[in-house]
């Protein structure tokens, strides 16, 4: 699985970094995103949902989060 770490990145950069990495992937492939800032997680979940990607994963109850984003046919066709 591809991985990207957006720890320490300031909004809106996490969403832009993740978008760039997802652009290199094919339907069915996954990207694991690590970060440390809850609003960035919320923004990533929202932008992925809006663009048809599947998102799973949870935060650890603190600041850190880990999301698995799956490229769907719908997202790839955008």
């Amino acid at each position: 699985m591809e991985r990207v770490d957006v720890t320490g990145e300031v909004c809106p950069r996490p969403a832009l970094i993740v978008r760039d990495r997802l652009g290199d992937l094919d339907p069915g492939e996954q990207l694991l995103v690590r970060g440390d800032y809850p609003p960035a997680e919320e923004n990533l979940r929202r932008t992925c949902r809006k663009h048809g990607f599947e998102v799973s994963g949870e935060s650890d109850g603190g600041e850190d989060f880990e999301l698995t984003i799956t490229v769907t046919d719908e997202a790839a066709s955008e």
Partner: protein, 343 residues
Amino acid sequence: MTGDMEESENPPLTEFAELHGCSCKVGQGDLEALLREAGLDRADDDLLFGVGEDAFARRLREDLALVGTVDFFTPIADDPYDFGRVAACNAASDAFATGATENLTCMVVLALPRAITDCAPAIIAGMADVLEDVEGTVAGGHTTMNPWPIAGGAVTATGDPGQFMTTAGAQPGDRLYLTKPLGTQPAMGAHRVRNGEFGDSVRDVTDRGIGDIAADALDWMTTPNRDAARVARAYATAATDVTGFGLCGEARVLGSRSGVGVEITRLPVIDGTPALSRLFGYGLEDGESAETSGGLLIAVSPEHTATLEDEFAERGVFVREVGRVTDGTGVRLREPEIDPVRL
């Protein structure tokens, strides 16, 4: 004024903080929990209103009350003078949201990293100029060192308590109005990354120039809510200003404190910002994007809406109907019409 958003020789202030403008505000749920834990979630009989509202009000005479508030945040603009203007406008807005617009006085709250203390005069000058525009004054302040730059102020104003507005009082059937378009967060976010590796990404999603979008956002963030408040206070059943919680967050506060539900049917937005918001995941089209120095959200009985709209038009103040107050609880978006606004 640097409203054309040209590059300045000053260091880019936004690079000194990880959160920008009203998005540095503590979350709604966390704030409510904090107030409960601190025992500050009850009304104070000595005040007309206080905790939970945009400002406190203490009656001085039958027809006169003192209103006070404090608001400060991290840089939303890179230029110190612009940052000062937005900070003063935002701090004064909490007083204006109550309808108190007279005798406006601001004690500056300023904190800067050691490396950029020479920005202080420009920040304070920006604050003073905005306050002068609303017949207010800077009366002093407090300045410290801090890793993140912070500017704002403790603002006092006076008004007639008979015309004060709070978040409680909205009635089912009232119409909801907003006095500035939304979208400051995506506009300024795009402006921050416009010259870096993601410059093309942000330019590609909108046919409007990022500089124009950000210039509009800066103009709105430095537009005081005083004139809007002076019209609204004669008619509003409830009001608040839209800041870090976004439109829906502030509507949720108004609905909860008034014991009503809210339905949003229109979202006036700075033209070009919805596409940027989708790119960043900011939730503008869901009414969730944080606003900095946003407009007033006003609830008005249907019998007064025509007069209110006429008076806003006469004064040349922006206003849009954005929804209505309902029975029940919570905020619902009813396929809101996206209404792009250009200056």
